[in-house]
Amino acid sequence: MFQYDFMQHAFLAGTAVAIMCGIIGVYVIARGLAFITHTFSHVGFAGAAFAVFMSWNPLAGMLLFTTTAAVSIGGLGAKVFRKDIPISVVLSIVLGLGLLFLSLTKGQSNAMMALLFGSIVGIDASQVYEMFGLAVGILVVLILGYRMLTFDSFDPVGAESAGLPTRFISIAFLLLLSISVAEALQIVGALLVFTLMTTPAAAAFSLTKSVSRMLLFSAVFAVIGVWSGLTLSFYTNAPVSFYIAAVEAVLYFACRGWQVWREKMLPSVKPEHVSVSTEM
């Protein structure tokens, strides 16, 4: 399998994407943003359509649109509990714009979009470095912002009361997310980014309640999915995305099932036995 360069590239870039997406995914789930990765790929498409219309590099349009969308969703939604509302508002405007630019552009814009959505078995050596660079950059930012981001993601009310800049955190996280989605889209494709940013983290949530372990499990699940997906695909020739999505789904349902079983087995938390004297 590894006599082929493309499989080496796929394993290396796929591992970088998996670790990055697995870790970001924990925060995506905790912040209730599961659908935003999907939204960003549509937004990226609209941005690319705009760039083609303006005769720019499609990636520039993609980044422009996804980061603008990130800032507006963050600005609209920092205090909104139902985050799906600002997301839908922004998504519908952007999808409309995408169709507009697509129809305004002369020539085969649709075909040019193909340039934007990568395939994991078509990665060249320079993209492997690019992907590693992106993953390392994103992870460094996440490590430095770990405490603030974790507090704000899991306990937004507490974070605000503790004086954390919650709006800034929200926008910064969305920006980080939009850049990683836009870049990873080009290299590994939309379905893979969406799958790896949600399913492994969701599986990790049912397995552990410790944030550090969630991050670890999520990254490990994502990597297992990519490796086994690539291997299965190599020997059977069904699309890689299918296998990765399938493996992640199996992991998710297994973890979920295990959680349900464990909760049935475990007695509920002990009733109060804490002695606090009420006598002064």
Binding site: I29, A30, G32, F81, I143, L144, G145, Y146, R147, M148, T150, F151, F154, D155, P156, V157, G158, A159, E160, S161, A162, G163, L164, F205, K209, S210, V211, M214, S268, V269, K270, P271, E272, V274, V276, S277, T278
Partner: protein, 261 residues
């Protein structure tokens, strides 16, 4: 005694309406002051102003820190009124409490920080819950965890916004009793927003009675008096003093609407 907090002529206007108007009071170190009053009286607004989340339109707030404290956010612990907690993304109590630690760029907890988390859990009688998922805890246990998160930064001033609103009477009493013990052990200054006049009267040194446009601060006996209550409510009220606690009731039940006291 040393002053822990002084509020001078503070007014807050939101949307063209005066939520707080010309409020001045002083809180001494180690004192527990209960803030009571009907819904919409501005109790939570006062909390936000004290926290620094909201800037007052007029007036000044000074938190007097003991020399050891380095900055303001470190020395105030706050337990908000309500919490968004998603069952699906629930995490364990230990992590939740550690969020309260002062923020650094270092992702892991060092030994000192771990011992502070452990201490906060012990202080709130939560040590056995450290590895439990918050979603599996009872209301009272959760409330103690929220308290632990506020205590983990070892605050000099503890602000509690209706910590007992979701609890049954026994649970309410227990949480406030716990706060009182911590106050006595650590000398923490406590401001407690509550609807429960009984708890306010039993545990606090003084009561700040807040209602739209008017307020009174003083010892329980000085506030829960027919003349003061009548002025504050704008309707005849009387205080019933019992052996252990004091209750405010409308003096002519038939003519008075229900008031939360």
């Amino acid at each position: 005694m040393e002053s822990a907090l002084s509020v001078e002529h503070v007014s807050v206007s939101l949307g063209g309406e005066w939520i707080l108007h010309d409020i001045s009071f002083e809180v001494r170190r180690g004192e527990m002051v209960s803030i009571i009053g009907p819904n919409g009286a501005g109790k939570s607004t006062l909390m936000k102003v004290l926290l620094g989340v909201l800037q007052p339109s007029r007036g000044r707030i000074t938190v007097h820190l003991p020399p050891a404290a380095k900055n303001r956010s470190r020395s105030i612990g706050y337990v908000p009124q309500s919490r968004q907690m998603d069952v699906d993304t629930s995490l364990r109590a230990w992590d939740f409490v550690s969020f309260g630690l002062p923020h650094t760029l270092r992702p892991w907890l060092n030994r000192k920080e771990r011992s502070r988390v452990r201490e906060a859990l012990e202080l709130t009688r939560c040590e056995e819950l450290a590895n439990q998922a918050i979603s599996r805890l009872s209301g009272g246990q959760r409330q103690r965890l929220y308290l632990a998160q506020a205590l983990v930064r070892n605050p000099d001033l503890l602000l509690l916004d209706e910590p007992t609103s979701n609890l049954d009477p026994g649970g309410q009493e227990m949480v406030v009793e716990l706060v009182n013990q911590i106050r006595q052990e650590r000398g923490t200054t406590v401001l407690l927003v509550t609807h429960d006049m009984h708890i306010a009267a039993k545990y606090s040194d003084r009561i700040l009675y807040l209602t739209r446009g008017r307020y009174a601060i003083g010892r329980v006996e000085d506030i829960v008096r027919p003349d003061v209550l009548t002025t504050l409510y704008g309707a005849p009220m009387t205080g019933i003093h019992e052996e252990t606690h004091t209750t405010a009731v409308p003096s002519r039940t038939s003519s008075m609407p229900y008031l939360e006291v």
